[in-house]
Symmetry: C2
């Protein structure tokens, strides 16, 4: 998610931000300085800097306990370019791509660029994947894209959700792309199952990862794809054609992020966990806003009591001094919701939700 | 051009390099450090950092003496992503795109991604655009792409070449994209006419520029598009979908490049000018290699006396300890040529050409 990029009046509170409020940890910035000083100012390999690919492969191997080599890793210009590389690399005109509704809007945009058609699946009232809608959506899908923890809902895929996906796509052998940008932000000790840990997806599952959220590096633009080497090779053709190589010194900094900035990531996670409680408390104190507490990421996907659509309500909120994202941005099923980010200072969370509640007409007549 | 990315045996000389041999000037690296220290680690506007867009607009306005505003400027992930943004933004499946033969291979790759068809035009023996081939190629072209100074030939477009292009595309009002990555590297006081200075192209001409060559910033990945705001807006949709925003701190460094690193750029230009003479001398001392002295960039496009095709000869050269680029990479008309880079140390230029001459069989039987 890209943050709100228009300027707002002074005093406006943003609960729309899609990035960490923290600056990048110093240890990572220092690594960048060192790389630049040592002359890392030239092009590098278009698959990514070999020491970074090795570090990523080794790090994921340790977490995943499966065989991963550097040939399975492509360094990308953030998750955006990684998603683009996979989608443009494997989706041909007319191909069907199944995504959740609601979900991060970039997937459908990229599928449209590739000339593909989107089908959607949903979750049921218990927050589990709805088996019927999933089966319908993936019936002829070339690719299925999941986002977990979800932007905007914070939901994660349980083992049984994954089981449904594997089962539903077994006959077609659809490719599965899992955007796990927020995977480091999991609360309450919830179990998180990366696509890399799902049996049956070894040859058709691709992870899209980024340094942006975990290490507060959104402005650095570095991420990676990890999957079967043939799929990585296909994605690399797109990435090198559209992007060329990735910033060399940034890749040295990314190595340091993995090796030396885990304590910083843990510290930020604890801070987000506290803010999540703050937002939960703030929401419970007002009428007309309700949300399932997210398992991960840093958003509440709130259902609201108001007669306006989410775009109209967001506009009214802006006028009242608080920025939010309209749920409609994330798909038809996002309508009737707004997305509130708790990657904001605690006092801003309280005041932002107070302002928001003040504009609700408490009517739900549109439903 | 991306440099050779495979590793070669120790002692191998590279005349294949597509980037400055210089590290990025210190003043630019220092600006990056300062930006990082001040917290420029977050997402920025997807059109580019406003102060950078203002600096670019102001800098180009001063050189060009025409009206240029920030709405005409899109900051891109290097020239690669700029080219991709224009080509994917304006070329629809089935559209014709005219390019020179030979030219930088990325254009045709991107046109293929967009589903377009390539037609080609050539220069005559005097190095001028061939009017007939140009008229044929652009007849139904949606877009014409020029590269000047040319990679691989170093040729630039004279006023009369530009006049031919304007005339040939007047009826269709084809869009013209000019890749001027090497525009800062012009020798012997040759007159260089940027697309921004061509009368008649104000509403359909787009400049693609990069900080890579002029400021030795290939590893930084920052460039820009400059053209009519409607075309820039179309390109921006592609760029933000495929790339998101560009590294924020890098954009601060790019501001400093424009404002404070012109003396460094001049120093590097003088150095390249000397190396060009070295390569000219080295070539004149051996038989079987001949080339027009390039007006710009840092390549000689050499015709060779040997029975092998350019791929075969390049392979033989590698075995003899010198890397070169086969002319065929740049199009059919590049066959029978190799591209030699003088962005290499003078002693390497001499020794590289000596090694190259040693593998020539001096036969030209394939022609």
């Amino acid at each position: 998610m890209r943050g709100p990029l228009h300027s707002a009046p002074v005093g406006t509170i943003s609960l729309a931000i899609g990035e960490p409020s923290f600056d990048t940890p110093n240890v990572i910035r220092d690594a960048m300085l060192k790389a630049l000083a040592s002359g890392a100012t030239h092009y590098c390999d278009q698959f990514g800097l070999m020491p970074l690919r090795e570090t990523i492969a080794s790090d994921e191997r340790r977490s995943r306990r499966r065989s991963i080599t550097v040939d399975d890793v492509l360094v990308t210009h953030g998750a955006s370019a990684g998603l683009a590389a996979v989608i443009l690399g494997v989706v041909n005109p007319g191909d069907v791509v199944a995504i959740e509704d609601p979900t991060y809007s970039l997937y459908a945009d990229l599928v449209a660029f590739a000339g593909g058609t989107v089908t959607t699946f949903r979750r049921n009232q218990n927050g589990e994947l709805d088996a019927d809608s999933l089966h319908d959506a993936v019936r002829s899908a070339r690719l299925v894209i999941v986002c977990q923890p979800s932007n905007p809902t914070g939901a994660i895929l349980s083992s049984s959700d994954w089981g449904l996906i594997v089962e539903a796509t077994r006959i077609n052998q659809s490719l599965i792309l899992s955007d796990e940008a927020y995977a480091s932000l999991i609360y309450d000790g919830n179990a998180f199952t990366s696509i890399l840990d799902v049996p049956g997806l070894e040859t058709r599952g691709i992870l899209c990862q980024t340094f942006s959220k975990k290490f507060a590096m959104t402005g650095w633009r570095v991420g990676y794809l990890l999957g079967p080497s043939e799929l990585i090779a296909a994605a690399s053709v797109v990435h090198r054609t559209f992007n060329g190589s990735v910033n060399t010194a940034v890749q040295y900094a990314a190595i340091t992020a993995i090796s030396d900035a885990q304590p910083d990531a843990s510290r930020m996670l604890m801070e987000y966990a506290e803010r999540r409680v703050v937002m939960e408390d703030a929401l419970s104190s007002v009428s007309g806003l309700e949300a399932r507490t997210p398992a991960g990421a840093f958003y509440f996907h709130c259902r609201y009591a108001d007669s306006r659509d989410s775009t109209g309500l967001s506009r009214a909120a802006t006028a009242a001094g608080v920025l939010v994202r309209p749920g409609r941005e994330f798909g038809p099923a996002g309508e009737g919701h707004i997305r509130l980010s708790f990657a904001a200072a605690p006092e801003d969370i309280w005041e932002g939700i107070r302002r928001l509640s003040s504009v609700l007409d408490m009517s739900t007549e549109r439903e």
